[in-house]
């Protein structure tokens, strides 16, 4: 695989060259807090020295609130009562300095929005408009990161088009896809890196060694769904939960949404908004019944979806990339690592009876 050498002094000049062909998006720091992803204005450059962004970049592809259609209820208007599709921006964009876990998460989410049978036009259009320039993590972003045991890792190149590796005074840019090569070309970066692959491999090994937190997932598939569902630990796991949904909103792999019409005066919009299994309206039936009517049901749904239903359905690991955000942001310290290990190691038997 091709590895390009980019001296850090060339980096911003290269991005400036790319601006004519790409809308640039990247992490921007506001004060002391972790940076957030947003479009970069003229003269703005992505933050390149950070652990990870506060929220994942999922909202760039799947916004928290996204207008799908607009309509007017004004009987005088010729197009009244007609839903008109909102044009989506399919122009080429570059997502700069996305961390490997978050890029990997797009691939997990893609399983829901882009299948051989169903293609969600909004998600797919946004997703395909981005060229993703990953930035490898030379060390663990946090003591809560468990990416290596969640199927990702600090140098994972799944889901990126280019993976940048910081070597101090330069970036080694590993070209993963043709799309990635085109972006580097637009930046004018083309100097081949000597020993690129070998240097990346050695940095990768060092980085992976700094990940200090792990989950066990090997037995999740063989666990019987009903036994896990009926396991006695859910009351204990869910007790502290306040059902705030911070875990699901901050999760790069949570994809649930809800559709709402909102009308103001005679103008209206049909939008989709992030939903969360933590909320009382989630899966509330028209009859008023909710199969997940209590906190215990909701918390169990979150973990069973990520760590069992998804595992069984797609047979490719857990629906989690180990970024650790839900652990760091949970107001009451519910820790997915503990729950995952509990589910993985569960044996129905005496425990269920006690």
């Amino acid at each position: 695989m091709k590895v390009i050498h980019i001296h850090k002094t060339e980096w911003q000049g290269g991005l400036d060259k790319a601006r004519s062909g790409y809308g640039l998006y990247g992490p921007v720091r506001q004060g002391q807090d972790d940076p957030v992803f947003r479009p970069l204005g003229p003269g703005e450059f992505p933050e390149m020295s950070f652990k990870n962004t506060k929220m994942s970049p999922k909202e760039l592809v799947h916004p928290q609130s996204e207008p799908l259609f607009r309509y007017t209820l004004d009987p005088q208007a010729p197009d009244h009562d007609i839903l008109k599709e909102v044009q989506k921006d399919a122009s080429p964009k570059a997502l700069l300095a996305v961390r490997p876990c978050d890029a990997d998460a797009f691939l997990l989410v893609r399983r829901n929005f882009d299948t051989p049978v169903y293609k969600d036009p909004y998600w797919v259009t946004a997703y395909e408009s981005f060229t993703k320039i990953g930035l490898a993590c030379n060390q663990a972003c946090s003591a809560t990161a468990f990416c290596t045991s969640a199927g990702s890792g600090p140098f994972s190149d799944a889901g990126v088009d280019v993976l940048l590796v910081d070597t101090g005074d330069a970036y080694l840019a590993k070209v993963i896809t043709e799309k990635g090569g085109q972006f580097l070309g637009a930046c004018g970066f083309s100097a081949p890196a000597a020993d690129g692959e070998a240097r990346i491999a050695s940095l990768r090994e060092k980085a992976e060694a700094t990940i200090a937190s792990f989950v066990h997932t090997d037995k999740l598939r063989e666990q019987a769904t009903i036994e896990l569902y009926d396991a006695p630990f859910w009351e204990d796991v869910s007790f502290a939960c306040i059902n705030c949904g911070t875990c699901t909103y901050s999760c790069p792999t949570c994809w649930c949404f809800d559709i709402q019409d909102e009308t103001r005066g005679k103008q209206g919009v049909r939008m989709r908004n992030w939903d969360s299994c933590m909320y009382p309206l989630f899966t509330l039936h028209g009859s008023g019944h909710n199969p997940r009517g209590t906190k215990l049901h909701r918390v169990r749904q979150r973990f069973m979806h990520k760590l069992k239903y998804y595992v069984d359905k797609y047979q490719d690991g857990i629906q989690c990339v180990g970024c650790g955000r839900c652990i760091r942001l949970c107001p009451v310290n519910i820790d997915i690592r503990n729950v995952c290990n509990m589910m993985n190691g569960y044996t129905a038997c005496a425990c269920a009876a006690s």
Binding site: Q32, T144, A240, G245, Y249, N273, S276, L284, V332
Partner: protein, 318 residues
């Protein structure tokens, strides 16, 4: 601190083994620095799970709402005031409740400690030690120290009721109480022009992700269906529309009028650090100025906004 842990465990063990309660609600050690997790135990031999330190800022009164069992709950001053509220508002029966009151020294502000660690060490907090009035923080390669009074949550710095106002068991020695809250923070906002206030709140709420953690961490918010979750009819939109966000925050605050104990759970729970107490404290100040009322201090008095007297000095209500 560890003397308090030992006392809490002994009490919990005794209450459970003597069959006085069905469960004890307290905190267990968290998996992150500065975090403990609310938990329950049902067996005397589980008592050793319970802990107590300066990171128990979540209000445990929130976990007894509508419980049918006989419950013992570990309660610092503010939690005990919310238990009083709960009893007055019929959310729990006094005779089914055993209050394990803890004399509180104030809780540490995890957000402040995290941000100071970033400034001083450029690192995450690895460990926090709190002894003899001094807090020692280990962050990456650096260790920094500060007097604990400086690092308390804002509500704890202002607190006038650190000792439990209602308890059946007492843990620790009663601490000296402050007598006044100068409401300097509220006055600063009151002094702003309408336009400045608008801009101030607009900016303050701009990062809200509408997770409702503030509402859900609050023991006062127990409506079977919150107005923002009502779907037939739907009162509030679901998007990130600033009008809906404001509506939520303002109405939430008004629902807490005359009931809020300034326990700080809402602010502590907010994942994006919005100082939502600015709303509730304004109403606390009004209640105190207009009615001489502080919530949750007595079982024998009806709250300011749920009582009527024919002798009311105000004309508008007669």
């Amino acid at each position: 601190m560890s003397a308090k842990i030992e006392a809490i465990r002994q009490i919990a063990r005794r209450l459970l083994s003597e069959g006085k309660v069905d469960m004890v609600i307290g905190f267990r050690r968290g998996t992150l620095p500065m975090m403990n997790e609310p938990c329950f135990i049902r067996k005397a031999e589980e008592a050793d799970r319970l802990v107590w330190d300066s990171h128990c800022g979540i209000n445990l009164a929130n976990y007894v709402t509508d419980r049918k069992e006989r419950v013992a709950v570990v309660a610092k001053g503010c939690d005990s005031r919310n238990l009083v509220n709960h009893i007055i508002e019929n959310k729990i029966k006094r005779e089914k409740l055993v209050v394990i009151g803890v004399c509180c020294d104030g809780m540490l502000d995890k957000r402040l400690i995290a941000s100071r660690s970033r400034e001083e060490a450029g690192a995450e907090v690895d460990a926090v030690e709190d002894a003899n009035g001094q807090v020692t923080v280990k962050a990456g390669a650096l260790i920094w120290q500060a007097p604990r009074e400086e690092l308390l949550q804002d509500n704890c710095k202002r607190c006038r009721h650190r000792n439990p106002v209602l308890c059946d068991e007492l843990v620790g020695e009663p601490v000296a109480e402050k007598t006044e809250d100068d409401y300097e923070d509220v006055k600063r906002i009151e002094a702003m022009s309408s336009d400045d206030k608008w801009a101030h709140f607009e900016e303050m709420l701009s990062t809200c992700i509408r997770c409702y953690a503030c509402r859900n961490a609050c023991p006062l918010c127990y409506c079977p269906t919150c107005f923002v979750d009502e779907s037939r009819p739907q009162w509030v939109g679901k998007s990130q529309d600033p009008i809906d966000i404001r509506t939520f925050h303002f109405l939430r605050a008004y629902h807490c009028a005359g009931r809020c104990t300034d326990c700080g759970s809402c602010e502590r729970a907010c994942p994006v650090g919005i100082p939502v107490r600015q709303f509730t404290r304004k109403l606390n100040k009004d209640c105190e100025e207009l009615y001489g009322w502080q919530a949750g201090l007595s079982l024998d008095q009806r709250p300011a906004l749920d009582t009527y007297s024919p002798n009311d000095p105000n004309d508008f209500i007669r």
